[in-house]
């Protein structure tokens, strides 16, 4: 099923609808909104699932090497049931690695991904609470990469709509090579 992306310039909100089996294994299916980026950044967005669906439907803040379904990637995903997970495919065609973190339940989640050199740090907060660090990992994605917001329904026969608000991308003035 086809996805869609709507942007409301007045509120700065994105309404992204995505379908797809999953972002997992050796191939991904999802709706993606992205831009090309090199170097360090702080990427923040607040996510709200607008549709019911499979517990493991996903809203993600993602770094991706290319638009190929089996591209190397790294994301902070929020499942529909409120579980934050860090997932990555180290090399094109490889399988996905996962670190499932502890859920505080479904809600409005603020998510943040910070890249500094080869280290990527993940933050999350539910329902207006202060952002807490989840942990960090290392990445060999290199530059440039595609940074953006993704939505997957975890089902070929369903769509999942997520509202992303307060989306911000901060980069240091002297971006790394």
């Amino acid at each position: 099923m086809q996805g869609s992306t709507e942007f409301d310039a007045a509120t700065g909100q994105y309404k992204i609808t995505g379908s797809g089996t999953d972002i997992w294994g050796r191939a991904d299916q999802f709706r993606y909104l992205w831009r090309e980026v090199s170097g360090d950044f702080t990427f923040t967005a607040t996510t709200k699932f607008l549709t019911d669906g499979i517990a493991h439907r996903k809203a993600v803040l993602m770094l991706r090497k290319s638009l190929d379904p089996d591209s190397a990637y790294l994301d902070l995903a929020l499942h529909g049931d409120g579980t934050p997970v860090v997932q990555f495919r180290n090399a094109k065609g490889d399988t996905t690695n996962t670190v499932d973190l502890v859920t505080a339940g479904p809600g409005v989640w603020k998510l943040r991904v910070v890249r500094k050199g080869g280290t990527v740090t993940f933050w999350a907060a539910k329902d207006g609470a202060p952002l807490l660090e989840l942990g960090h990992t290392l990445t060999n994605l290199g530059n440039p990469f595609l940074l953006g917001l993704g939505v997957s329904s975890h089902s070929q026969t369903a769509v999942n709509t997520v509202l992303f608000s307060d989306v911000s991308l901060e980069m240091p003035p002297a971006a790394r090579k």
């Binding site: 860090v86 990555f88 690695n97 973190l101 502890v102 807490l132 942990g135 990992t137 290392l138």
Partner: protein, 215 residues
Amino acid sequence: MTTTTILAALLATSAFAQTANLGPFSNSGDVGAPTRSGSTQFDAATGEFRITGSGANMWAKQDQFQFAWREITGNFTITATMRFLGQGAEHRKAGIMLRQSLDTDATYMDVLMHGNGMPALQWRSRKGEDTNAFDLPLLEPGTYKLKLVRTGVKMHMYLAKAGAEAVRVANTEVAFTGPILVGLAVCSHDAKASDTVVFSDVTVESAPAPAPRVP
């Protein structure tokens, strides 16, 4: 003890010299041939392990460390309380390790503490590949309780400062096959140094076998 367990113990003993009572484990030794030899001492009266390990690191495509282990099949829970003795490299490592074999580049997964108080899950998905790592937010240096629960491909990490109940913090997936090695690992993260870690209250419990399928 079941016949299978005794047989497994005998096989393990024949393959690797068993020199002492190691409590819940059957063997100990260095993996990856570190320059400085390590050692494992077990005090049966107190149930305490004193494990000294050296090694450049457990990382990338090659691991060097001291390991006390037993063979295990299926699902299980392992717990240990641990503390570093003395000083050392900030990223010296100690914790619970699951390993497909004693090869330096074997598939493995561990839940560990760094010397500076940073907990981590690390794993090599396939033999010869690079290590993957996820580091959790820093705790104060001290005494920690670690627990790892294996359910199929899912490896659940539990953690607490000593005295508290270990709570689940994360899980990952690693596809081990057949019997694996479960044990305690210590690495100094410096080929020219050794670190000693005390482990206590170490338990390894196999999960009951699943009920037979009704045809």
